[in-house]
Structure formats: C-alpha cells, structure tokens
Amino acid sequence: MSYTITSKQLLFTLISSMLGVGILSLPRVTAEAVGQDAWLAVILGGIIPFVSIWLSNKVVSRHPGLSFAAITEMLAGKWAGKLLSAAFVIYSIIASAAILRVFTEVITMFLLPRTPILVKIMLGLAVSAYMTSSGIKVLGRLNEFLFYVLLPPLFLSIPAVVKFADLHYLMPVLNNSLTDYSKAAFTTGFAYSGFETIIVFAPYVLKKKETLKAAVMALIITITIYLYAVITTITVFGSELTQMFTWPALRLLSVSEIPVLERMEFVAIIAWIGVAIRPASNQYFCAGLIIKDVFGIKSLSKVVALLYPIIAAIAWYPKNISIAIRLSDFVGMYSLILGTALPLLLLGLSLIRGKGRARDEKNT
C-alpha cells in the first residue's frame, strides 16, 4: 500500500459513500413506514451502520498494513477468502449500478427527458470511471471538495422551511408499534448503504487510531443531514403529502421562490449531480480495488475499464423507474447484511486465529 489517506479524507469518503441518491427519496420511504415519526426511523436506521463501522474497524485494526482482499484471504483461506471478496465486489458493482440508475432517473425527470437512458448512464459512468481511475488519494480529495457543493442546496431549502414549516405535522410522536419502527429502520437501508466501504478504505488511513473517530463522525454528520432533510420535508408537506412525491426532498426546493431563477430545484439538481456521482464512484472504486488486489493486477484503470460495461449493463437493465427503485431497495438490504455479516465473520475468524497464534507463540 504505497498511498494513504488522512482520517479527515476517510470521514468525507464515508459521508460521500452514503450521502447521495438516497437522500432524495428518504423522506418518502420513512414516511410510508411510520408516517410523522419518520425522523425516528432515520435515527434507528443509523444503528446498524454504527455497529458495522465498529466491527469493521476492529477487524482492520487487528491486521494493520493489509488491504481488505489480503485480510479475507489470510483469515478465511485462499478460496473462501476469494469468495468473500467476490461477495463484496458483486455488491459494489450492483450498488454502483443502482445508484447510477436512480441518479439517471432524476436527470431524466428534471433535465433531459428525451435523451436515451443508456446514453445518460454511459456518460455519467464515464465521468465516474475517470474519478475512480485516479486512485484513492484523488478520490479522497474529490470526496472532500464535492461535499461542500452539497451545502448551497441545503441553504436554498431554508426559505421554504422558514415560510411553510409547521411543527404540528410531527405530532403525535411515538404512535406506531415497535415492529413498525424496526421495519422502518430497515427501509433506510439504501440511504445508509455505503457505510460498509469502510472495511475497504480503512486500511489506507495514515493514523489508525483516528479511524473509528472519523468513521463515527461521518455517520453522525450523515444522520444529521438526513434528519434535516426528513424533518424539513415532513414539516412542510406533512407525512401524507410526502408519500406522494417520488423525490420529496427535491420538491421542497420548488416551494420557495427566488426572484432571479424561475425554478430552484434545477439549481439544486445541478449541484446535486456533483454530490450524487460520488457514491457511485466510491462503490466502483471498491469493486475495482478488490479485483485489482485479488488478482494482483498492477493498473487500476484496466480493471475500471473492464468493469465499465458490466456496471453500465446492470444500470440499464431495469425497464422503468419502479424496477430501478426496487433494485435500490435490494442494494439497501444487501448492504445491511453484508455490512454486518462480513465484518462479524472476519472478526470471529480473526479472534480464533489470533488466539491460536498467541498460543503458538507461547509454546515456541
């Protein structure tokens, strides 16, 4: 591992892996599940990623200096390790494709209704591939730089909130059953998907001690932004109306009027393109990096070029927007399972092997 990232770059990389496309539909998804208590679902949804981050950091810090592919291979053996890596690669490819597809759907709805979907996917993916092939260092810088692009759209929503927000929409609190809340927590899966990339990025962090702190900070910042999006949307529209919109967070911006530009959400969409391309690139990068490590290929750009048609094809596959949304829900579930099961399995193996090794060392 010749290159490293700072813990601050890890923080922004994790934020940008999670925060992107999911935020637009999050108010709808959570409102459908628990109505006005959607904000609670956002907080509950953050628990699984938190556990996953903690487990992943534990695994990575037990094996310093090893990449994800090397850790799995060492702990699970040559073939089983490769299988685990493959599970992650497949997830990353599908996640990248799903994010890209939803991203393209938003573009279709707001900016380019008549351009063929495939062209838009290929163009977006080409930019994503260019970002990915630049390597982890540049990706870290970009993740940080483009994070600030998100801030103007957030500010743009303030006038709407000030003018139309009604806190009564959040009442009554805690009106659903416990099972409803736990189900609702799982619906946030797609919005939080991306947290599991920590297991791939963490080995590259320069100061290992700061990894966990940075990752938890990333999660807290993401939860805060999600909470802001959900609470503002629901206080402006109410939970009933929120469920009617495909992307309620964007509709929020069209409520407020600013004299120069006729329609605010367009400005937000253009800024959002910069934000939403990051999770696709990060997932793309994870897939590329693991393949590169497993097969010992020197150049990342070759792997990136190889993955390009695969991701483009998967992103193109859903026939319409509802199938695309179902694909993204699948990614959300997959990420929760992968994000907890994989580090748990690796940690278990590591503990067993670690004890064995410690005993061996004592005996000799």
């Binding site: 900016l111 810088r141 329609r263 367009f266 969409i269 393109i273 391309i277």
Partner: protein, 530 residues
C-alpha cells in the same frame, strides 16, 4: 589545413566538441613559449570563419618578448571598458623586469596589477576558456603562461528595465524583468538581501548553452523540492533553449494538462513574494519570465495589488475574479443549455424577449455561439500581431461594426452578443496570461458538452475538470490545495485575503522549513495598553 570538427549530432554536449590536439604527448615537456605559439595557431584555426570573434595581438608592457592575444566577441562586450581597463593598462604595464617573463609571477602580475576588471580568473582548459569567450567574456593568452586569463568585460546592448505590458500595476514596483539573467537576479536580490538567498547556476542546451538559475532561500525552501527541480532541469537534453516555455514544458508534472503548472511572472516583487513562501524560482537567460515552483491553482487568482491595497479591497477583487473566472468558463455554455434545453428555467418575461430576439435567427444557439467565439478568437489573435495603432482600429471594426452587422443580418441574436462580450471581458480579469489561454480551451469543452447534454453535460464537464485539477500535482504538491485537500490555515489567503498582520505563519500547502513569517503586533497583549 586542419579543421576542427564539431560533432554534428545535435545531442552531443558542447564539452565533447573535439578539437584536434596538435601534439598531445609532447605538451608536458614543451616550454611555455611553445605553448603560446601552438595555442595561438589553434585559436586562429578554430575561430576562422567567426566574423564576430576578434583576436587582438599586443605586447604586454610594450615588451616585444611578451606576445599576447586578447580574444573577445565584438557584439557581446563593452568596448570602452575593454579599451580603458584591459588593453590600455596591459600595454602600459610596468615593472615586468623584476618578475621574469614567465610562470606564476607573470600571471599574478597581470591579474593583480594590469587587468582592471571586476572579475579575473585563470583557466587552463582550452575548451572551457573558449566557452567563456562565447559567453561574452574576454580571454587573454600571453607568452609565458600556460593557460588563459579570463576577465569579465561583458556588455553589449540590453533592454532598459521597463514596466511589463502584461502585468501592469497601480501600486508596487513598476520594474519588470528583462532578458539578462544577471540583471534579473539583481532585481530579486534588491528585494531580499538575505545571505541565505542562494542562486545556483546550471547550463542547458548543447548549442545554446543557456544559463538557468535556481533561486531559493536556504532554510526556508524544502530541500526535496529544490533537489527535484534541479534533477528535472538537468535531465533536459535539447540543443537550444530559446524561451522559458521550453524549460516549462520539459519539467512540468503533467505535460498533457491544459493548465499551466508553473506560475510565470515578469515582476520582481511577485517573484520575491514567492521565494518568501518557500517556493523556488527558475530564472532563464534571455527570457523576462521567472517561474516559481511548486505552483498552486489559487495563485492564478492572486494579484500583488491584493496585498498592497487594504484587505477589504483585496477580498472584493478576489471574489470578483472568481466570479469572472466562472462566467468566462461557463457563461456561453450556460446560455446554450438554458435556451436549447431548459427554457423553463428562464423567468417568463425574459424568456419572451429572448424568443422574440431569436425568432429570426436560423441557427441553433451552439452554431451562433461558435460563430461568435470564432470571430472573437480571430480578433484577439490578430490584435496580438498587429501594431498597437492598428489594433485599436481593428477592435472598433471587429467589435462594434461586425457585431452590429451580425445582429442586423440575423446571424446571431443580440443576447448571444451580450453573453460573448461578457465572457470575453471576464476572460482577462485573471492576473496571469497563461491561465487565460487555458480558460478558453475549457470554455470550448463545456460549450460542446452543453450543446449535446445541456446542464447535465455542464455538470459532468465540471466534475471532470475538478477531478483533473485534483489529480494534478506540482512537484508533489497537490495543485488544488488548499481547497482539496482542504487546509483551513491557508484559507486566509485563498478565496479571502485577510489583513496582512494575520499571516503570522507561512502557508502549509507549500512545504517549507521556517514557519514563522511575522509577529501579529495587533493582538491584544492583555497587559493593558490602551
């Protein structure tokens, strides 16, 4: 007749030029008189055909046993100085009887009593001496001395120090660099009189033998970067360096990038400011441009007036420059995207007047834009070539008459003319000319993207540009810092320009050793001085 051979393969350095040696084995034993005759013959043969080389024969101190030759380039020396301080004292030199007529004594005597020039050195090597002569110094060959005495009489015509055309200033020094490397170094030295300011000289170009100086402040500049710059400059293998651009293109990190990766300036105060930030300067003979390395993207937005005027003005002009940069790069493409893809974004009253104006124009906005951009580029290109008096007329004919005629004949809509005019003016707001050249390439890239994919194309194009910028490095320093990677301390002098007394430490983006820059004398000390 023996001719000396210049190895004609272009890549052979000058030092390998072979001079045929007449009697190489017997040389050690031959006495000095023999050496004089032999070398004089050799000089005459080697230098025959060089009309500007003058070989002047004389007797030192009028002594007929002391033959001597002075060789110099007529165009590159100061004739008056040669006559008054070299030839006259040499010919009237006295006291030669006491020291004998050869050897160390004679050499000492000539150097210390006869030659009245600023620098005198002794050179035994024939080729090196000849090289010095071609660099504008005079060489003296005297009977009795086995070698050459080299004295500096360099002169010749130099351009007066004047205010550079491309970097005009209201405050600060009006001086600009000229072509002569030593004058330029002197100008920098006048700003920084620190003995730690080191100047290292290199020679590159086998035929041109161009002087390249690397200047840095020892104990401030990062030695790794100094070594890296030196290494890259030494690696240049070319027959001639005609301009600083040659060096730039050989040493920059990414030769495929459209962005300038070395900041060139014609101003000694700007060069000095760069030295003080821990950068180093690359000064090249025969070019009034001095480069500083490593270079950051933000530097192209910083002008010296920002620091010389009050900081409020500095902040405002920086923000204006950033907006102008964005308009120059994005203006035309946003107009195209709005009119041909997203008309719903334009407020309805404006949209109606746009539509009315565009009604008679037969072309799509892209074609309109490309026609107008082409005309502007042509006018600009022609304006550089033409003499100043004609260029003004061209501006009126091209700008006003042509623009008006284009609208009347419905080639382009008036709105497009406004957009093109604004973007063209905005293009020149940046203080660096190289960056304005790169900006127009970016503009065309984005115009094509917006013409095909509207705002989506622009957004993706911008991401590609930002990715490219984040990828660039200048001597292992990230080009986009302090933005990416984000460095809070340098934000004081990036988009903003905070008061000077707040810059107590040097920017972290540039690796340096001595961190302390100033003491903040405005900080309240707490001991109560009201």
């Amino acid at each position: 007749m023996k001719k000396y051979r210049i190895a004609l393969k272009a890549v052979k350095p000058m030092s390998t030029i072979k001079f045929r040696n007449k009697a190489s084995d017997g040389e050690k034993n031959a006495d000095s008189a023999d050496f004089f005759d032999r070398t004089a013959d050799r000089l005459r043969k080697d230098l025959s055909g060089n009309a500007d080389v003058i070989i002047r024969e004389l007797f030192i101190g009028g002594n007929e046993n002391l033959d001597a030759l002075i060789v110099y380039l007529i165009g590159n020396i100061d004739k008056k100085m040669l006559n008054d301080n070299v030839i006259k004292p040499l010919m009237t030199c006295s006291g030669l009887e006491n020291i004998g007529l050869s050897g160390e004594g004679l050499k000492e005597h000539i150097a210390k009593k006869c030659l009245q020039t600023g620098s005198v050195k002794y050179q035994k090597d024939y080729k090196a001496a000849l090289q010095d002569m071609f660099s504008g110094e005079g060489i003296l060959l005297a009977k009795g001395i086995e070698g050459f005495i080299i004295f500096a009489v360099d002169g010749g015509q130099k351009r007066q120090i004047s205010e550079p055309e491309t970097e005009k200033r209201i405050r600060g020094t009006k001086e600009g660099f000229i072509e002569d490397i030593w004058v330029n170094i002197g100008m920098i030295r006048e700003f920084i009189k620190d003995p730690m300011l080191k100047i290292e000289m290199l020679k590159i170009g086998q035929r041109s033998q161009t002087d390249v100086a690397i200047a840095y402040i020892n104990g401030l500049a990062d030695s790794k970067i100094v070594d890296e710059v030196k290494k890259r400059i030494k690696k240049i293998n070319i027959d001639a360096i005609l301009s600083s651009g040659y060096v730039e293109q050989y040493i920059e990190d990414n030769p495929w990038s459209v962005f300038p990766q070395l900041l060139g300036t014609e101003k000694p105060d700007k060069a000095a400011a760069n030295l003080l930030e821990g950068k180093l300067l690359i000064i090249i003979d025969r070019t009034p441009y001095v480069f500083s390395a490593p270079t950051l993207f933000v530097e192209f937005f910083q002008a010296t007036e920002d620091y010389y005027e009050k900081f409020h003005v500095g902040i405002i002009s920086r923000i204006i420059r950033l907006i102008a940069f964005l308009i120059a790069v994005l203006g035309t493409s946003i107009y195209i995207a709005l009119t041909s893809f997203h008309p719903e974004l334009i407020p309805s009253e404006l949209l109606i007047s746009f539509a009315r104006l565009r009604k008679k124009v037969p072309f799509p906005p892209v074609i309109e834009a490309l026609i107008m951009e082409f005309i502007v580029e042509v006018l600009r290109e022609a304006g550089i070539r033409l003499p100043t008096s004609v260029a003004g007329t061209l501006g009126i004919v091209g700008g006003i008459i042509l623009g008006d005629a284009a609208i009347r004949s419905n080639l382009v809509s008036p709105a497009m003319i406004v957009v093109i005019a604004i973007t063209t003016v905005c293009n020149f707001v940046l203080p660096n000319y190289s960056m304005t050249l790169s900006m127009r390439l970016l503009k065309f890239f984005l115009i094509l993207l917006s013409a095909t994919f509207g705002a989506y194309g622009i957004a993706l194009g911008l991401i590609v540009i930002v990715t490219h910028l984040a990828k660039l490095e200048s001597f292992s320093v990230p080009y986009l810092s302090p933005y990416a990677p984000f460095r809070l301390r340098d934000m004081k002098d990036a988009l903003l320009r905070l008061p000077l007394w707040m810059y107590v430490k040097r920017p972290v983006s540039i690796p340096h050793i001595d961190d302390k820059r100033a003491v903040n004398n405005r900080k309240k000390s707490g001991t109560g001085e009201n």
